[in-house]
């Protein structure tokens, strides 16, 4: 685990655990970048400085909370309200797309990923940081049992997001286990 992340408090364990892995993933961003599900903008501080980023969220309230963090980013960061399944961008216009814990809760994730496939340039990269269903039997069973409960509050725990990448036409070229085989960082290209 790397150095302590700034602006985190006791209780932000997930931020402290996964911040370094996210920062490492974001170092692979090149060119014009699209970020999905910006949320409150908590991950903006992990972006390398000087990038041109368009950050989306489906919720206007989340974007309002993200605005101060976007303003503090040392680069160009525009916020837009948009659904990941219906992107208002022309084909092949982004060099990099970043998705952090998005496709655990997007309804019809393959549809959303196909939309990313459409707006990503042919030589572009999709960087994902997601939690997925474990391949270890006891843990996978736990995830399957808890998903009906977790779905009431937000994410599914047992999505096969890397499999969905393939179903949407991407090819995974790099996959890293961040915690067990549940939390993963991956890089994909158009297949």
């Amino acid at each position: 685990m790397g150095p302590r992340e700034p602006h985190v408090r006791l209780g932000d364990a997930d931020e402290r655990r996964y911040g370094p892995a996210k920062r490492q993933l974001f170092e692979r961003i090149r060119g014009r970048c699209l970020m999905l599900a910006a949320g409150t903008g908590n991950d903006f501080r992990l972006f390398p400085a000087g990038l041109r980023i368009v950050a989306l969220d489906v919720s206007r309230a989340m974007l309002e909370r993200a605005r101060p963090r976007a303003a503090a980013y040392a680069g160009g960061l525009a916020l837009l309200q948009m659904d990941a399944r219906r992107l208002a961008f022309r084909d092949a216009c982004f060099d990099t797309i970043v998705s952090v814990c998005t496709f655990c809760s997007v309804p019809d994730p393959v549809l959303g990923l196909r939309e990313l496939h459409r707006v990503l340039k042919p030589e572009g990269r999709l960087l994902v940081f997601e939690h997925v269903r474990s391949r270890l039997g006891p843990l996978a069973m736990m995830q399957d049992l808890l998903t009906p409960l977790s779905r009431r509050f937000g994410p599914d725990l047992n999505r096969d997001t890397l499999g969905n990448l393939s179903r949407a036409g991407f090819r995974v070229v790099r996959e890293e286990n961040v915690y067990l085989d549940i939390v993963k960082a991956a890089e994909a290209v158009r297949g």
């Binding site: 685990m1 655990r17 736990m142 070229v173 790099r174 890293e176 286990n177 915690y179 067990l180």
Partner: protein
Amino acid sequence: MIRDDRAFAVMEYAGGAITAAATAAAIHAVIDPHWDMVLAMVVGTAIGAAIHILAAVALGPFVGMFPAMASGSLIGMYGGMLFAMRDSMQDASWFQSLGVAVVFGVCVVAVVQLYDRALRGTSIVEGGSAGRP
């Protein structure tokens, strides 16, 4: 200053011990040697599953949600089944019940941490070799 990963490891062990002790205590309070063993194991698993959810919610902010859930689910469900089996067969004392539970919880966390270390790293690199950072 203690590094984050060491602090998390210690908190995971503490969390595992607490989850196991809470599971064993609840099962010890409910199940006694008059119970049918199979029924006791089913009830123990259910009690453990419920307690692990509560424990994950309580411990998640301190150790991370997935680490709390991964260890907690194994401790709650499988530990719950074992603790209930023991309590249906044997008139164990509270000290024995909680002591064994703490040892079980710590052992499960140790196995999960070992597994995490074994799995951590890059598993696919196109045009290159896989390896650990």
